[in-house]
C-alpha cells in the first residue's frame, strides 16, 4: 500500500477515492500477509467497513469527514475500545471487552479515522521485541527472521507492512520509538501529559504516553494533532490548548541549535553504523541551516537502572487488579488468596512476573529508600541535566536503538541484554520530554536505522521541524 495519510485524506475529501475502497484494500493486505507478520491480535473488519461507509456518506452529503476522514489506523491492543476485546497480549485479560472507549480512540473516531484492528505487543507493554506476547511474536516486515522491536511491535509492523498508514502505540521506555526504528517508520513519544492516558491500560503510570506511528513525519504530525490536548478524565493531562505541529513541520531548521547527546551516542554497545548515521543526520541539519554541537547529559547513563526500579514498582501496583475477582481469567482455589495466586500464576507470562517481583521488592519496607527513593532522585538529576542541555540547544539528537532489528530469539534468554535495547530512549520518559524516531537509511545488514530527535517539554514543534529535515536528507 502506498500514499501518505495526508494524500489519502485529500483524495477522500475530494471524492476522488472512497474510504470504503481504501479500507477494503488494507483489509485485503492484512488478510493476505498478516499470517506471516502477525501484527494484529484482532482485525475489526466489520466495524471498519461500516465506519468507512459512514465517511463516504458524509462526503457525499458535503459534510466534513474530519482531518483523518477515511484513513485506516491500527490500535495497540492496550487501548480500550468499548465492546472490543482488549488483551494487552496477556492470557489474564483474554476475552475482556471494556465497557468504555479510550479518549484517544474517541478523538480518532471524531476525526474520521477508521480503526482496523488491535495490534500485538509485549505482554502489558513489557519488552523490546514483541516476543513477550501470550499470542506469539510479531515479525519484522522488513525481514521476517527479525523482531519488529517492542513493545508496540505490532503497530510498527502494521505501518511498515502497509496494513495501515497510521497506528497508535504507547511508550513507557521507548516502546514506540525503538520499534519505529527497527521497522523503518516514524514513531513519536509526546510530552508526558500531552495525550490523555484515559483508556490506556497502565504499565507505569508516570512514564506511559500514547503516541503515533506513521510512514512520514508529516503524517505523524497530523495524527498527533488529532489525539493531543487536555482531557478532564486524565488528571496528569496538561491544561491549555494543544499547539498543532503540522502547520510548521516544513518550516526548516535555519537558526535551530541541535546537540548530539554524547552519553547516548558514543556509549558502548552503540553500533558504529548507527553512530555514523546520527553524525550524518547532524551534518545534513547543519547543511540545512541549523547549528550543531555536542552536549553532555551525564546522568543519562543511570537512566536504565532508575527506569528498572520505577517502572516495575508502578507496574507491581497497576497489575495488582488482575486478581480473578472481577474480570478476565480466574483459576479457582481453596480460598480467595489461593484463587488470586493461581490466577496470576497462570495468567501472567515470565517477564511480567519478573517485573512485578522486582517492583514489589523495590517498594517494600526497608528497601524503599535505597531503591525506589534513589531511582526518583536519579530522575530528578536527569531532568536537571536535560534542562542544562536545553539552555544551549533547542533539540538533541541520538540513536534510537543501539542496534538494528535483531533475530527472533536472540535476546529472549537474557533479559538484561533485552533491557539494553532501550538505553537511548529511556531517559526521555524519565524526564517527561518528547522524542521521536525518524528513519535514516539502512545499515550494511540491509535493515533500517532510526535517529532519535529529543526536545524539552512541549517542544514538539521544533522537534518535528528537525525530524522533517532529517527525513528529507535521509539516504
Amino acid at each position: 500500500m502506498s500514499g501518505s495519510a495526508l494524500d489519502l485524506v485529500a483524495g477522500i475529501r475530494s471524492g476522488r477515492r472512497s474510504a470504503r475502497e481504501l479500507v477494503d484494500a488494507h483489509l485485503a493486505e492484512i488478510a493476505a500477509r498478516d499470517a506471516e507478520v502477525h501484527a494484529f491480535n484482532l482485525v475489526t473488519a466489520g466495524s471498519a467497513r461500516s465506519a468507512a461507509d459512514a465517511v463516504d456518506d458524509a462526503v457525499r452529503r458535503g459534510d466534513d469527514p474530519g482531518p483523518l476522514g477515511g484513513v485506516p489506523i491500527a490500535l495497540k491492543d492496550n487501548l480500550c475500545v468499548q465492546g472490543v476485546e482488549t488483551t494487552c497480549s496477556s492470557r489474564i485479560l483474554e476475552g475482556w471487552k471494556p465497557p468504555y472507549t479510550a479518549t484517544v480512540v474517541q478523538r480518532l473516531r471524531a476525526a474520521g479515522a477508521i480503526p482496523v484492528g488491535k495490534t500485538n505487543l509485549d505482554e502489558f507493554a513489557m519488552g523490546s521485541s514483541t516476543e513477550n506476547s501470550a499470542f506469539g511474536p510479531t515479525r519484522n516486515p522488513r525481514d521476517l527472521t527479525r523482531v519488529p522491536g517492542g513493545s508496540s511491535g505490532g503497530s510498527a509492523a502494521a505501518v511498515a507492512a502497509g496494513f495501515a498508514p497510521l497506528a497508535l502505540g504507547s511508550d513507557t521506555g521507548g516502546s514506540i520509538r525503538q520499534p519505529a526504528a527497527l521497522c523503518g517508520v516514524v514513531g513519536v513519544k509526546p510530552t508526558y501529559g500531552a495525550v490523555s492516558r484515559y483508556g490506556l491500560v497502565a504499565f507505569a503510570s508516570s512514564l506511559d504516553q500514547i503516541g503515533p506511528f506513521a510512514g512520514s513525519v508529516a503524517d505523524a504530525a497530523l495524527l498527533l494533532d488529532v489525539i493531543a490536548g487536555p482531557d478532564p478524565a486524565d488528571s496528569t493531562s496538561i491544561a491549555g490548548a494543544w499547539e498543532p505541529v503540522l502547520p510548521s513541520v516544513g518550516d526548516g531548521v535555519a537558526g535551530l541549535r541541535v546537540g548530539i547527546v554524547e552519553e547516548l551516542t558514543d556509549a558502548e554497545g552503540i553500533h558504529p553504523e548507527i553512530r555514523a548515521a546520527v553524525e550524518a543526520a547532524a551534518s545534513a541539519l547543519e547543511a540545512a541551516g541549523a547549528s550543531v554541537g555536542r552536549v553532555k547529559v551525564p546522568s543519562a547513563v543511570y537512566g536504565l537502572s532508575a527506569y528498572y526500579l520505577i517502572a516495575p514498582a508502578e507496574a507491581s501496583s497497576n497489575l495488582a487488579r488482575y486478581d480473578g475477582v472481577r474480570y478476565g481469567l480466574r483459576v479457582d482455589g481453596d480460598d480467595v488468596a489461593s484463587m488470586n495466586a493461581r490466577t496470576r500464576d497462570a495468567g501472567f507470562g515470565p517477564e511480567v512476573k519478573r517485573r512485578i517481583m522486582l517492583g514489589t521488592y523495590a517498594l517494600s519496607a526497608g528497601y524503599y529508600d535505597a531503591y525506589y527513593g534513589q531511582a526518583q532522585r536519579v530522575r530528578t538529576l536527569i531532568i536537571r541535566d536535560f534542562a542544562r542541555a536545553y539552555e544551549q540547544f533547542d533539540v538533541l539528537l541520538s540513536p534510537t536503538s543501539p542496534t538494528t532489528a535483531f533475530a527472533l530469539g536472540a535476546k529472549t534468554a537474557d533479559p538484561l541484554a533485552m533491557y539494553l535495547s532501550d538505553i537511548c530512549t529511556i531517559p526521555t520518559n524519565l524526564a517527561g520530554h518528547p522524542a521521536m524516531s525518524v528513519p535514516f537509511g539502512t545499515a550494511s545488514d540491509g535493515l533500517p536505522i532510526g535517529v532519535q530527535v529529543l526536545a524539552p517539554a512541549l517542544g514538539e514543534r521544533s522537534m518535528f521541524r528537525v525530524a522533517r529535515a532529517i527525513e528529507v536528507a535521509a539516504p
Binding site: 484515559y198 490506556l200 495488582a320
Partner: protein, 484 residues
C-alpha cells in the same frame, strides 16, 4: 497496688456526604441495588484514571478549619497496596506522609485533645458472605457490592491524649457534633458513616513510656465504644496485675458477650508498600477555595453552647444535650423564633425531654418528625397561657410527634383546654370537701404526714372531677384557702 493510667488514641473514619464519589461522578448514596452506582473508575477497570472531586477538598478544608488543623500548600495521595476482593484495584488511594490536615485539636470538656492528622481516602466495596452463618469462615460463597467503592472518607487520627473510656466517648460525641455542624457527613455510627477504631494501652500513673497497645475494632455506637473500652482497660489491667503482658494485636469488640477478642487472622506483618499515586497531581487548595470555606463555616458546637447558655439561660448540661443531638439545636432555634409566650428554656426542656426521648426510641432523625418547630412553639405557648397543664401538654406533644397535627387542633379535638375559671373550680372544690367530710376532719386533726396524705387525696379527687383539665395551680390555691 499500682495506680494505672489509661492511654487511648482514636482513629475515626468519616464518610463525607458529597453528591458524588471521590474520584468519579458516580452517586455517593446508600440503599441502591448492588453494583448500580459504579463506573470504570470506581470499579478500577484497566485503563481508567481517577479525577479528584473538588467538593471533597472543600469538605477537608472545612474539617481543617473546624478542628484547628494546619493545611499545607500541597498534600499528595499515595497508594496503599494490599489484596482484598472488595478493593477493585487491590490498592487503596489514600494519603500517607503528606496529609491534607496536620496538627489539629479539639476541646472536650475543657481538655484539649490533640489530633495528629486528617487525610482523604477512598472507601472499599462491601463483601457479603453467603450461606453458612454469614461469616467468612463458613460461607459457601461471597458477593461483592462496589456501590461503596470510591466513596470519600476522611480519617481523623487523634494523638494518644485520651485518658479513659468516658473521655473517649466525649471526644467522639464532640467530634460528631462538629462534623455535623459543618455539614460534611451524616455522622451515623450505627449506619457506618462514622467508624471508630481505638488504640488502648495502660501504664503506671506518672510513667512517661507508653504501654503495649491493642487496637479495638467493631464498635458501632457511642455506647458500644464506651463498653468496649471499659472492658479492654479492665482486661489489660488484669493482665498486668497478674504479671502477664499485653500483646500488640487487633481485637474485635463483640456486642453480645461484651468482650474484645483477638482477631483470628494469621500473624501477617502487612507491608503496604506505600508510594506516591502517579495518576493524581498534588492537592493544592487555592486561596480562593480557602477563603470560601472560611467565609462559610457555621457556628461550631462549643460556640453554640456558650451562646445558648448566655442568651437562653439554659444550663451547661442542657446545652450539651441539645447541641449534642443531631439536628436538635437547629430545631430548637427555629422553635424559639416562633415563640408566642413561654421561654426558650421551656423549648429546650421539651426538646431534651420528650422530643429527644421519642427520637431515641424510634431511631428517627429530627428532620423527618411530623412535629414542626413552630408547632412546638405553639405548645409552649399553650402551657404558658394556662390553656394546658404540663401533663396534658405531654399528651398533646406525644400525638404531635406521631402525626402531623397542630397542638391547638389536638386540644380542640379532644376538648383538653384547661379550666382556669376560679368560680367554676371553687364550686368543684366545695363539692369535693362536702362529699369527703370525714377526710377533711382527719386532715384538720392530723400531723404533717396525715395532712400531706389527705391533701393529696383531695387534690386527686378534684383533678378527677375536672377530668384532668382543672388548672392545677388554681386548684391548689383554692384547696389551701378552704382547708385553712
Amino acid at each position: 497496688m499500682t495506680d494505672w493510667e489509661t492511654v487511648i488514641g482514636l482513629e475515626v473514619h468519616v464518610e463525607l456526604a458529597t453528591a458524588t464519589k471521590l474520584f468519579c461522578a458516580c452517586p455517593n448514596q446508600f440503599g441502591d441495588e448492588p453494583n448500580t452506582n459504579v463506573c470504570p473508575v470506581c470499579l478500577g477497570l484497566p485503563g481508567s484514571l481517577p479525577v479528584l472531586n473538588e467538593r471533597v477538598v472543600e469538605f477537608a478544608l472545612r474539617i481543617g478549619e473546624a478542628l484547628h488543623f494546619e493545611v499545607p500548600p500541597e498534600s499528595i495521595f499515595h497508594r496503599k497496596n494490599y489484596f482484598y476482593p472488595d478493593m477493585p484495584k487491590d490498592y487503596q488511594v489514600s494519603q500517607y506522609d503528606s496529609p491534607i490536615c496536620a496538627n489539629g485539636w479539639l476541646e472536650v470538656d475543657g481538655t484539649r485533645i490533640g489530633i495528629e492528622r486528617a487525610h482523604m481516602e477512598e472507601d472499599t466495596g462491601k463483601t457479603l458472605h453467603m450461606g453458612g452463618g454469614g461469616r467468612i469462615h463458613d460461607a459457601e460463597y461471597s458477593l461483592v457490592d462496589y456501590n461503596r467503592a470510591g466513596v470519600p472518607l476522611m480519617e481523623i487520627v487523634s494523638r494518644p491524649d485520651i485518658r479513659g473510656p468516658e473521655q473517649a466517648r466525649a471526644y467522639v460525641g464532640e467530634l460528631r457534633s462538629v462534623l455535623e455542624a459543618i455539614g460534611v457527613s451524616d455522622v451515623k455510627m450505627e449506619e457506618g458513616s462514622l467508624r471508630v477504631d481505638a488504640n488502648v494501652s495502660i501504664r503506671p500513673s506518672g510513667a512517661e513510656e507508653f504501654g503495649t497497645r491493642a487496637e479495638i475494632k467493631n464498635m458501632n455506637s457511642l455506647r458500644s465504644l464506651g463498653r468496649a473500652l471499659e472492658y479492654e482497660v479492665e482486661r489489660q489491667i488484669g493482665l498486668l496485675e497478674s504479671g502477664d503482658r499485653v500483646v500488640q494485636e487487633t481485637r474485635h469488640w463483640n456486642e453480645e458477650d461484651g468482650r474484645t477478642h483477638a482477631m483470628r487472622s494469621k500473624e501477617e506483618a502487612f507491608d503496604y508498600r506505600y508510594f506516591p499515586e502517579p495518576d493524581l497531581v498534588p492537592v493544592a487548595p487555592t486561596d480562593e477555595m480557602r477563603a470560601k470555606v472560611l467565609g462559610s463555616l457555621p457556628e461550631l458546637p462549643a460556640a453554640k453552647r456558650a451562646r445558648l447558655i448566655d442568651e437562653w439561660g439554659v444550663t451547661e448540661p442542657d446545652a450539651r444535650v441539645l447541641v449534642g443531638a443531631a439536628g436538635l439545636s437547629s430545631f430548637a432555634e427555629a422553635a424559639v423564633v416562633s415563640l408566642r409566650g413561654g421561654t426558650p428554656k421551656d423549648v429546650v426542656n421539651w426538646c431534651n425531654g420528650d422530643v429527644l426521648g421519642y427520637l431515641n426510641e424510634t431511631g428517627l432523625s429530627v428532620e423527618v418528625l411530623p412535629l414542626a418547630p413552630d408547632a412546638l412553639a405553639e405548645l409552649v405557648g399553650l402551657v404558658a397561657d394556662g390553656t394546658l397543664s404540663r401533663s396534658l401538654a405531654k399528651d398533646v406533644l406525644g400525638e404531635c410527634l406521631r402525626e402531623p397535627k397542630r397542638p391547638k387542633d389536638v386540644v380542640a379535638e379532644r376538648g383538653l383546654a384547661q379550666v382556669s375559671d376560679e368560680g367554676e373550680l371553687g364550686g368543684v372544690i366545695d363539692g369535693i370537701l362536702a362529699a369527703n367530710a370525714a377526710d377533711v376532719e382527719e386532715y384538720r386533726a392530723g400531723d404533717d404526714k396525715v395532712k400531706k396524705k389527705k391533701r393529696g387525696f383531695l387534690m386527686g379527687e378534684a383533678m378527677k372531677a375536672t377530668k384532668g383539665k382543672g388548672n392545677p395551680q388554681l386548684l391548689n390555691k383554692l384547696l389551701d384557702e378552704r382547708l385553712g
